[in-house]
């Protein structure tokens, strides 16, 4: 960090935080300190940094680093899809026991708070993948107010739907933290969804997910971001996969002031399959910036990437997708597709696919298109009596729905489709 004054403020915030949350901090005191030091060394990214060119976080820098949230919103979260599911509710970064439902977990499933867990796997994997060189990721590690550890033991097939609900409400100019470590053991199967919702909130939510799929595991993660347009969100999701594992992530962004999603996938072994799907539907002055990086480190892996955006009014969308194929990663199949629709003259989209290939026997492709709704299709619908706004909504809906089809959890799919319909 360049400015000494900022450094001093940040440091006093950190030591104050350490004192206040002594019990929490102790668990991974060292990790917090390391992360904080990395942050103070690098500071916040600016738009001079190529990776942050379109994503100006200078307003977030005004937000105090440590959360001051204490009181909890008691309003129940009334979502039918949560019936019969395992639900973990976080309010302004703090676990809300009374709104959560996680008694009688199936065999092989462990759910504990990160700050309490003594589980061996938690100690082994926590902060192993998150990158302190990423400012917001480092801040999350330094300042998080706890989080979740979800573990499917080796061989465990978890059929339950697991929801993490992160709600930010009645909180102004605060940074709140969401931290998750989710591990699917050898041959295990699990599906977890993270929903971020908010009301009457400004400042930003800082999310870090570390997701691990061990050998032959099948892990899927649905990430639905539906925040109010006064709250920003910066998420860093790290995926680490071992051999023969399958992983799917669906990132759906339907709201938020400034939303930046960094998704980092490490395909550390051979014979891995991974799917990254994303959809953002934004209006107003929202900015949504999806950065993905897929690292093919070993041979015979497949990665498939589909990101779509619908940008209207004065909103801005950014997609930056990197695929790295390492020297040893022969027989890699890596595909990336990014399609965007701009619905107004002032809507903006910046798309940048990047391939770095160091192996010679690979199949890689990428395509990025940005356009408007198909006029022929619009005319066809209108010629059948469908009014222009409905015809547009129908086409947008069709455009977006093939991303949502990847959400295998039926109730969540239905919920997301309904949210999308509202948004269009």
């Amino acid at each position: 960090m360049q400015h000494t004054l900022e450094n001093t403020i940040a440091e006093s915030a950190f030591s104050e935080f350490e004192n206040k949350q002594a019990s929490l901090a102790q668990v991974n005191n060292k990790l917090r300190k390391q992360a904080f030091d990395a942050f103070t060394a690098n500071g916040f990214p600016t738009t001079k940094n190529e990776e942050w060119k379109y994503c100006d976080v200078s307003t977030l820098m005004q937000t105090p680093l440590a959360t001051s949230a204490q009181s909890q919103n008691k309003t129940t979260i009334d979502l039918p899809l949560l019936n019969d599911a395992i639900v973990l509710v976080f309010e302004n970064g703090l676990f809300n026991e009374s709104l959560s439902q996680y008694t009688s977990l199936p065999k092989g499933l462990t759910i504990e708070l990160l700050q309490n867990t003594k589980h061996e796997a938690a100690t082994k994997h926590y902060q192993q993948y998150a990158d302190n060189q990423m400012a917001f990721s480092a801040l999350n590690t330094a300042f998080n107010t706890g989080g979740l550890f979800i573990h499917a033991a080796d061989q465990a097939i978890i059929n339950d739907n697991i929801f993490i609900i992160n709600r930010v409400s009645n909180l102004q100019n605060n940074a709140t933290y969401c931290r998750n470590l989710i591990i699917a053991g050898t041959n295990a199967q699990m599906q977890v969804s993270l929903l971020t919702i908010s009301s009457n909130a400004t400042g930003y939510l800082n999310v870090v997910n570390e997701l691990v799929a061990l050998q032959n595991a099948n892990l899927s993660f649905d990430f639905i971001q539906n925040d109010v347009d006064t709250l920003s969100q910066i998420s860093n999701t790290y995926v680490y996969q071992k051999t023969q594992s399958t992983f799917t992530i669906n990132t759906v962004t339907l709201g938020g002031k400034l939303v930046r999603n960094n998704l980092n996938m490490m395909l550390a072994d051979a014979n891995i399959e991974t799917h990254l799907n994303g959809l953002f539907v934004i209006n107003g002055k929202s900015l949504v910036d999806n950065h993905t990086a897929v690292h093919h480190a070993q041979p015979n892996c497949n990665s498939n990437q589909l990101y779509k955006g619908i940008v209207s009014q004065n909103a801005t969308g950014v997609f930056n997708g990197k695929i790295f194929v390492y020297k040893d990663a022969q027989k890699t199949n890596a595909y990336q597709s990014n399609k965007n629709v701009l619905l107004s003259d002032d809507a903006k989209m910046f798309a940048k696919p990047q391939l770095e290939i160091y192996a010679d026997d690979v199949k890689c492709s990428h395509g990025a298109t940005t356009g408007q709704l198909d006029n022929e299709a619009l005319f066809y619908l209108r010629s059948r009596g469908i009014n222009l706004p409905d015809a547009q909504a129908l086409l947008n809906f069709a455009f977006a729905s093939d991303v949502l089809q990847n959400i295998k959890h039926e109730a969540l799919h239905k919920y997301t489709v309904a949210l999308l319909a509202q948004k269009l």
Partner: protein, 250 residues
């Protein structure tokens, strides 16, 4: 029902319709024939409100209302239907969803109650039989991956669902084999009634063996240059268009 007077239309700098006149009364079937480039498809496009065309003269009255001023959806809501020469594929929108939206939009505009899911399904089933349509086709995306014949059948199926007052068939016979042609024509014939009119645009007389017109018009250089009964189509089939061109020049 439809009264076209001295209609002139251009696309860009190119003038295509040069004073076209046509009167269509309820229940009548008018065939419009003519060589390539005579303005047949332009007529269909102008009547249904395609934006690329500039109407720069004359008028089109549909039930005494100026059609040209209306948006495409308003024309459809008032009962004008176009069966497309090249139906558009719309991935991701199922045929059933599309038609339910369309039927209810038209009903709403006409002051009728919307159909609920059950009523809609019943009507859909009935109309599907009309064009011998497979029920899987209603669940598929609109025209996506449909064969040429399926697409045209789907057009007639949509027409059956929307029950227009005036249907314009734009080269509905193109790309159809003889069996598909018969199915499509049968569908149209079943929809003929004393209140519903048709404008059938075609290159070939073949379609008119199945859909027998009351009048046949020859369009050439953006004008109707000859009109007659159904026998005119046979004459054209036999002699081609050259004699008409010569007559026009003369």
């Amino acid at each position: 029902m439809l009264s076209i007077k001295n209609l002139q239309a251009a696309i860009g700098e190119k003038q295509i319709l040069n004073g076209l006149n046509l009167e269509v009364k309820p229940g009548q079937v008018h065939a419009i024939m003519g060589p390539n480039g005579s303005g047949k498809s332009t007529l269909a496009a102008v009547l249904t409100g395609r934006e690329d065309y500039d109407v720069n003269g004359g008028e089109v009255l549909f039930e005494n209302e100026n059609l040209i001023e209306l948006a495409p959806e308003e024309r459809a809501q008032k009962g004008v239907f176009l069966a497309f020469q090249y139906p558009i594929e719309i991935p991701g929108v199922s045929n059933a969803t599309f038609l339910k939206e369309a039927v209810n939009a038209v009903r709403q505009a006409q002051g009728k109650a919307k159909l609920d899911a059950k009523e809609f399904l019943m009507i859909m089933k009935e109309k599907m039989a009309l064009v011998e349509m497979d029920k899987t086709m209603t669940q598929r995306s609109v025209n996506e991956g449909f064969s040429g014949g399926e697409k045209k059948r789907n057009e007639i199926f949509q027409m059956a669902m929307l029950e227009p007052k005036l249907a314009i068939l734009d080269e509905t016979d193109s790309g159809l084999d003889i069996d598909a042609l018969r199915i499509v024509a049968d569908g149209v014939n079943k929809l003929r009634n004393p209140n519903r009119s048709f404008i059938v645009i075609t290159h070939y007389q073949r379609l008119l063996d199945y859909i027998v017109p009351d009048f046949v018009h020859v369009l050439y250089q953006g004008r109707i240059v000859k009109s007659g009964g159904k026998e005119l189509a046979l004459e054209l089939e036999e002699k081609g268009y050259d004699w008409i061109k010569e007559e026009t020049v003369a």
